[in-house]
């Protein structure tokens, strides 16, 4: 059991890692969007400052860089929060995925330029300077598909369909944003493909980041933490990193309890247990006839033991729920913290 450090106690939710709130699902999207902006900036800067390539390379370079950046962000983001694999095991597949995504997108777009007029039956389809959603949509979908496939390949096929679908959705979102933001007639102010390409890149990356790989529940584990004045901040993990279900007992029994609270708060010797259900969820079970409430927003659940019932009452727990024991002076909270905290 850890002791509370003096000074600021941020251990409840650590800012450096992602708290278990709904907002955790935005983190991969924001990370991918940031990488996309960096890639967009690099392409724009190179194109404006040096223009080392012709107009027919603009699209392949832009989408290729975007795809590479999003793949790198998605895989790198996962590595950041799932640190069980070594760097070497991560780096080679990730590097191969990034290079493969960029190279394949680039190569297919370069050669697609010759095929497009044949497919569409229109010479305009091959014009490198033509700004057209009709002729560019396939490129966006190709880019999205490549992101999904390459990320899934680097993850050894896990979630292939989800990531491929997310990639296609990202392609659609990117194309729509690129076109609408880049077309002055649709925009509030004067817009062009500077903003169009920027917004398109962000939409593409954020969509894939949000849909392609979400932060899994397995990265968070439950803790019981005392929030009443006595023993404030004392906490115990409900389960370990081995994934096996465990149960923690809270009361005032002097020996053998996982979390012992003071006796003067009408806390029973064996008052409540909080355990993992083995499926990623947690439950609280009342073990005494003394007062035992689980409190959450607009809800209060009475878990007092009823001798007339064959089994104790129990309720699922969500992160942030409070468990009030005895006369109310003893309160513990249930929080889910990143597995690194355990």
């Amino acid at each position: 059991m850890r002791r509370r450090r003096p000074g600021i106690d941020w251990r409840g939710v650590k800012l450096a890692i992602i708290p278990y709130t709904w907002a955790r699902h935005t983190q991969p999207a924001l990370l991918a969007a940031g990488a996309a902006v960096a890639a967009w900036w690099a392409v724009i800067t190179a194109s404006v400052a040096w223009q080392p390539w012709g107009p027919s390379w603009d699209g392949p370079v832009y989408l290729g860089a975007l795809v590479g950046a999003v793949v790198a962000a998605s895989l790198g983001g996962e590595r950041r929060v799932r640190a069980e694999r070594g760097w070497r095991a991560f780096a080679w597949p990730a590097l191969a995925a990034v290079i493969g995504a960029f190279g394949t997108t680039f190569w297919l777009m370069i050669h697609g330029r010759w095929i497009a007029p044949l497919l569409f039956g229109e010479a305009d389809a091959g014009e490198a300077s033509l700004v057209s959603l009709r002729y560019h949509l396939a490129h966006w979908l190709l880019a999205g598909g490549m992101v999904g496939l390459c990320c899934a390949a680097a993850r050894r096929g896990r979630g292939l369909l989800v990531q491929f679908g997310a990639g296609l959705a990202a392609g659609l979102a990117g194309a729509a944003a690129w076109y609408v933001a880049g077309y002055a007639r649709f925009s509030v102010g004067p817009m062009d493909l500077y903003w169009g390409s920027c917004v398109g890149a962000i939409a593409f990356a954020a969509t894939f980041g949000a849909l392609g790989w979400g932060l899994p529940e397995e990265l968070y584990v439950g803790w019981i933490r005392v929030v009443s004045p006595v023993l404030f901040g004392t906490r115990v993990p409900v389960d370990g990193r081995d994934g096996r279900a465990r149960e923690r007992f809270v009361g005032n029994w002097r020996r053998g309890l996982d979390l012992r609270l003071p006796e003067d708060g009408q806390v029973s010797e064996l008052h409540v247990s909080i355990g993992a259900d083995g499926e990623g969820g947690y439950r609280a079970r009342g073990l005494t006839q003394g007062r035992t409430h689980v409190v959450r927003f607009l809800e209060r659940i009475d878990l007092r033991y009823d001798p007339a019932r064959p089994a104790p009452l129990e309720t699922p727990l969500s992160s942030g729920d409070s468990v009030v024991l005895g006369d109310g002076t003893s309160v513990v909270e249930f929080v889910r913290l990143p597995v690194d905290e355990a």
């Binding site: 935005t26 924001l30 900036w41 724009i44 800067t45 107009p55 002055a184 062009d192």
Partner: protein
């Protein structure tokens, strides 16, 4: 080794010139074929070309802003490959975007901005009609046509235009009426001072008898005149450039029997002469005059067609009035603006038709306007028209209509930072650092958005007493 060079070595460098500050490129220029001396429009393509000839490189380099639909090109006139200063306005230059003429209107702007005012002295040849019709008092206010001309020529602003401060300009005042070459006003071939000029016009500009031998007078003023010793000295002594301004109040009319159609072969001869002295190989460069025409009165013809050729048909200048006598009949309709337009076009100048002293003064000032070394042509169209490769073409409204063009190949995917708007609404190149500002701003937003929920959760927990400070 620069990235551009690396990529060029890899074989992906394009034979296209970049448009600085944008992601657009310029197509390779078309090969120019010049088989005779001629006026040409040269459009500057890049900073190197600009730096070689102008100081304001930033204004000279082509620019394209797809956010606002603005396009800018810079050009100068060249005669036989040598720079030729000119006084151009929007009326002298036609701009075409993708073969469509760009005309000022709603959401469409056109502007010609001159740069580098020319200091080369000029020799103005003022060819004034002194035929009998100049004694007519059109308004009935006791002021004849000649009085209007006299008043215009002695106005301070007109005199300043001819003899501007510190200029070394000179004026040759010639009057014509009847057969024979024009005569110098007051016997003075060359006038170099404003005071002398004013006195000369006031004292000697009079109406004389005779018909209007306009074409003969123009031919003389653009040819034989430069053989007169005083004139030749004046031209060469200070390397003055000749500018002929011909004023008349009617039609070329050499006898009482002349009908309109009679003028067609005469005008054709004159245009051939003008074409030769302006563009032929037999005339030395310093003797190539610019010819402006000024009509006093109302225009006799409406909707004069633009014809660049030197061949003239009666139907072109007379419409259905080829058999109508000029003297006493056709000349009552007004000034032969069709013929004056052909003369001015072939002469590289402009035509003005004005009815009063002020209008005449404006015409004289325009003809004597300061010339400039190079120009910016700016136009703004619907940004929609910049969403594929396009040609911007300039066409000078003079004989031969020299043209020049640039073919822009904008990117089909990305753009550089949008231009920064000046006070007049035209945009100029934004610094490349603007992209960094954009990117860093967005990244900062993402970082804030990433940490905001965590900060919010901690703040809430702090308020609820779940954490303590």
């Amino acid at each position: 080794m620069s990235p551009a060079l690396v990529l060029a070595l890899l074989g992906c460098g394009a034979a296209l010139d970049p448009v600085p500050g944008t992601t657009a490129r310029l197509d390779a220029p078309a090969a120019q074929v010049a088989n005779r001396r001629d006026l040409a429009v040269r459009v500057f393509r890049d900073a190197d070309e600009c730096a070689a000839v102008v100081h304001e490189v930033e204004a000279c380099v082509p620019w394209l802003d797809r956010a606002t639909g603005q396009v800018r090109l810079a050009f100068r006139l060249e005669l036989d490959g040598q720079p030729k200063a000119a006084a151009l306005t929007e009326e002298n230059v036609e701009i075409f975007h993708k073969s469509q003429q760009v005309k000022e209107g709603e959401d469409v702007r056109v502007e010609i901005i001159p740069h580098d005012p020319e200091r080369t002295p000029r020799l103005f040849v003022l060819l004034l009609d002194a035929s009998g019709s100049m004694a007519i008092d059109d308004e009935g206010k006791g002021q004849t046509r000649m009085d209007l001309v006299r008043a215009a020529l002695t106005r301070r602003d007109v005199v300043d235009a001819f003899f501007g401060a510190e200029s070394q300009n000179a004026v040759i005042p010639l009057v014509f009426s009847g057969e024979g070459p024009p005569r110098p006003l007051g016997g003075r071939w060359v006038v170099t001072s404003a005071a002398e000029w004013t006195g000369l016009v006031r004292d000697h500009l009079q109406v004389s008898a005779g018909y209007t031998w306009l074409y003969q007078a123009v031919e003389f003023a653009t040819g034989s005149l430069f053989d007169v010793p005083e004139v030749a000295r004046s031209l060469t002594a200070r390397t003055r450039e000749p500018v002929v301004i011909a004023l008349t109040d009617g039609f070329n009319n050499q006898s009482g029997d002349d009908v309109c159609a009679t003028n067609a072969p005469r005008l054709e001869r004159l245009l051939a002469h003008l074409d030769e002295v302006r563009r032929g190989t037999r005339t030395s460069l310093e003797r190539r005059p610019l010819v402006f025409t000024v009509g006093l009165g109302r225009a006799a013809w409406r909707n004069v067609p633009v014809i660049e050729s030197t061949s003239v048909r009666a139907s072109q200048i007379c419409k259905g009035f080829g058999d109508v006598r000029i003297d006493g009949e056709l000349e009552r309709a007004g000034v032969d603006n069709a013929a004056l337009d052909r003369i001015a076009r072939t002469g590289g100048g402009s035509v003005f038709v004005r009815r009063d002293t002020r209008g005449l003064a404006e015409a004289f000032k325009a003809a004597a306007a300061t010339r400039y070394g190079w120009f910016e042509a700016r136009y703004q169209v619907d940004p929609f028209h910049l969403r594929r490769s396009f040609e911007s073409r300039l066409r000078l409204l003079t004989a031969g209509g020299p043209t020049a063009n640039l073919v822009f190949q904008p990117s089909g995917w990305i753009d550089g930072p949008p231009g920064v708007a000046d006070e007049d609404g035209w945009t100029r190149r934004a610094p490349l650092a603007a992209t960094l500002v954009t990117a860093l701003g967005l990244l900062a937003c993402f970082v804030v958005l990433a940490y905001l929920p965590a900060a919010f959760v901690n703040a809430l927990r702090l308020l609820r007493g779940r954490v303590r400070i």
